[in-house]
């Protein structure tokens, strides 16, 4: 299968290891990965903060960047950015009054998948041949869980990793408090939510806290680092790429 990688601006700029790991996993499974270099940002930050007009050119750019890739699927290591495309693009394109954009969005959206959703739901793969002999806890991010409904796909992938000691996170489905610009606009509330989430992470005794979203992990990792907690954050793709 020819897979176009939708890396997200955050992973591209701050967490390139997540992109590299995604490529590793997909290629190990025998797929051809392409990276349309015209992609920048999906526009989620603008759309979700209320800057709808500013997000429309980014929708258009996304559509142009991926439509020429000739890919069977567009795969993204972020539940949140995938949900932006899947849930909001159609509405933004329709409101823009640009029929061409609407048509390309309609054609693209059904082919956009979050990584775990793609591996388990589309490819039917759970064992990606990874080995990771560490104690790990998994935080299901809100948009993976409640917008994309990935269910237990990430957990299925993790359970198949050799040597892993997967421990359950208490109150796992509670939001970590990131929420995009919420983290700065309502920094105090965001911090209170983070504090509670980190208590649960620390209670597991895990060495690594993983999730399928670099943005939530940046928030969790930033909090762990500030506390010198000694727990690392790693994206799901990085664990799946490890051998």
């Amino acid at each position: 299968m020819r897979v176009a990688l939708f890396i997200t601006c955050l992973a591209d700029t701050l967490f390139p290891e997540v992109g590299r790991a995604t490529v590793t996993v997909l290629e190990r499974l025998g797929h051809e990965v392409v990276f349309p270099e015209e992609q920048t940002c999906c526009g989620q930050m603008h759309a979700n903060t209320g800057y709808r007009a500013e997000s429309v050119p980014l929708v258009r750019r996304f559509a142009r960047a991926f439509e020429g890739a000739g890919a069977d699927a567009i795969v993204c290591p972020s539940g949140s950015c995938t949900a932006m495309v899947r849930d909001q693009y159609a509405g933004l394109a329709a409101a823009s009054g640009d029929a061409g954009l609407e048509a390309s969005v309609t054609a693209l959206v059904p082919r956009v998948f979050e990584l775990s959703q793609f591996l388990v739901g589309e490819l039917g793969v759970e064992d990606v041949g990874a080995a990771f002999p560490h104690r790990v806890t998994y935080h299901p991010t809100c948009h993976s869980l409640r917008l994309l409904r990935v269910g237990d796909a990430p957990l299925r992938l993790l359970r198949a990793v050799r040597g892993i000691d997967l421990v359950e996170l208490g109150e796992a489905e509670a939001c970590c408090g990131f929420g995009g610009t919420f983290a700065v606009k309502n920094a105090d509330t965001s911090t209170a939510m983070l504090t509670d989430k980190l208590q649960h992470v620390l209670a597991t005794g895990a060495e690594v806290c993983t999730a399928a979203d670099s943005s939530c992990l940046m928030h969790l990792g930033g909090g762990l680092s500030r506390r010198r907690a000694g727990v690392r954050t790693m994206h799901l793709a990085e664990i799946l790429a490890a051998t």
């Binding site: 990276f35 270099e37 903060t49 500013e54 980014l58 408090g177 929420g179 983290a183 920094a187």
Partner: protein, 469 residues
């Protein structure tokens, strides 16, 4: 209310109150677990929710027709219907009716609509004492406090605080213990005299059936039955969005509401009355239909669904923001996720409640539990857009707009985007240590670095690696 403060500032104060946070956490977790258990009993729950959503949507789209039908049915059954454009008009109507009944006191059933319009204060100004009879509302009234939750208004107080309050303020309760049963008994003794002597009762309405003119109040303690049965005169104040077309619709709502709100299969008491029943209950019934901003909400085709709310409060109980801050931080009668979409619209998208659409991480927990399928996150995003669009009002920091526009320009060009990546890397270099920025940064990042380190941009972006591969 809590004064004209925006959510972030009000929340900061609430977050500092550890007793409040402990009370809230315990209460919201208890009630959300109860809800989940009774909802799981119903195999057709999703079909019921869809029916609830469809009923509300269809009703709103023809609200004028249903309101006129309700008015006709109530009038035919011996009730009197009054209309009120705003709070002042509604309060004046109620005060006049109380005066006409020759009463100086009224007994009240817990009602959000009357909280919203500040009825108790308005009546006090007219020399009329309003006795709140719901236990939690009585607690709030005795403490000169404001409700912090739609369903359990005193959720922010624990038993020790309530016992201390009763000993200080409730006649005959000087020695009461802090056992909930003892506290409830003290309230019963105090209120029974009020019920038996009351000439006027005031209530809200959970639903009103247009076809038959039947008003419905759902409650647990029996105070609602007392207020709607024993007085000679009953005055009900209801928002115009509470009308539903038929008894079949009521059948759907009565399945959705109790399970979603108190987590019971059915609440202890549901009272339905249709105008005036000869020899049974009040012999005069007045229904006040309240607009007070609701037609502004109705005018927004996306925001309109906030009017579908049946006030179950399930969204409050699952909201991670509400769980941390409590209801007072929202600064309105309607807190939590539903308040964040309803309050700013009721206030005409002006004032401090315009900060509420951002009081959410968009985690989506509220949408999952809403019994009438309100897309709360979708409406939050929509209202953020409305606030941003009315830039001249200054509800959004000027710097934010400039920053967002600049970012949009950067993301609109691959060249500018890649240049910005290089610039970020260079700019972060002097601040970073071990790949992390621990400094408290100025400007928009100050909120981030107050509690979190920031990763420093690595030596190579993903796209640089891809090209070099």
């Amino acid at each position: 209310m809590n004064g004209p403060r925006r959510f972030p500032e009000a929340a900061r104060e609430a977050l500092g109150d550890s007793q409040l946070r402990a009370n809230l956490r315990r209460a919201t977790h208890t009630i959300r677990d109860r809800r989940a258990a009774v909802v799981a009993e119903i195999g057709e729950w999703e079909a019921l929710r869809e029916a609830g959503r469809a009923i509300k949507e269809a009703t709103m789209r023809h609200l004028d027709v249903h309101l006129e039908a309700l008015e006709r049915s109530v009038t035919d059954r011996g009730g009197v219907v009054h209309w009120a454009r705003d709070a002042a008009e509604a309060n004046a109507t109620v005060a006049r009716l109380v005066h006409e009944a020759g009463a100086r006191e009224v007994v009240k059933v817990k009602s959000l609509a009357t909280d919203e319009i500040g009825l108790n204060d308005a009546l006090a100004a007219e020399g009329i004492t309003a006795h709140e009879t719901d236990l939690a509302e009585l607690i709030v009234q005795l403490a000169h406090d404001t409700p912090s939750h739609i369903l359990v208004p005193a959720i922010h107080r624990n038993r020790a605080e309530i016992a201390a309050l009763f000993r200080r303020t409730l006649p005959g309760a000087q020695g009461v213990s802090d056992e909930p049963a003892a506290l409830a008994e003290a309230a019963r003794r105090f209120l029974r005299e009020r019920f038996l002597g009351a000439r006027v009762g005031v209530s809200g309405a959970n639903f009103a059936v247009a076809q038959t003119g039947t008003v419905c109040v759902v409650e647990s303690e029996g105070n609602g039955r007392m207020c709607t049965t024993l007085p000679e005169v009953l005055i009900t104040v209801m928002g115009i969005e509470k009308v539903i077309p038929s008894l079949a619709d009521l059948g759907v709502m009565l399945q959705l509401l109790p399970r979603s709100s108190t987590g019971e299969r059915m609440n202890p008491y549901t009272s339905l009355w249709t105008g005036v029943a000869p020899d049974d209950g009040p012999q005069a019934f007045h229904l006040v239909l309240l607009d007070n901003g609701r037609t502004d909400v109705l005018a927004d085709a996306t925001g309109r669904q906030a009017l579908h709310c049946i006030r179950c409060s399930a969204c409050l109980n699952v909201c991670p923001v509400y769980e941390r801050t409590g209801g007072h931080a929202y600064g309105d009668t309607y807190p939590g996720p539903i308040g964040a979409i309803l309050a700013p619209q009721l206030h005409g998208m002006r004032g401090p409640t315009t900060s509420l659409p951002w009081a959410s991480t968009l985690c989506g927990a509220c949408a999952d539990v809403c019994p009438v399928g309100i897309d709360i996150p979708g409406v939050l995003i929509h209202l953020r857009g409305r606030v941003v669009a009315q830039a001249a009002r200054g509800d959004v920091p000027a710097g934010e707009r400039l920053g967002m526009e600049a970012m949009a320009r950067v993301f609109s060009s691959r060249r500018r985007y890649e240049a910005a990546q290089r610039l970020a890397r260079a700019g972060a270099r002097p601040l970073a240590r071990g790949g992390r920025i621990e400094h408290r940064l100025p400007g928009p990042l100050a909120g981030w670095t107050m509690s979190r380190d920031l990763p420093a941009p690595p030596a190579q972006t993903f796209r640089e690696w891809w090209r070099a591969r």
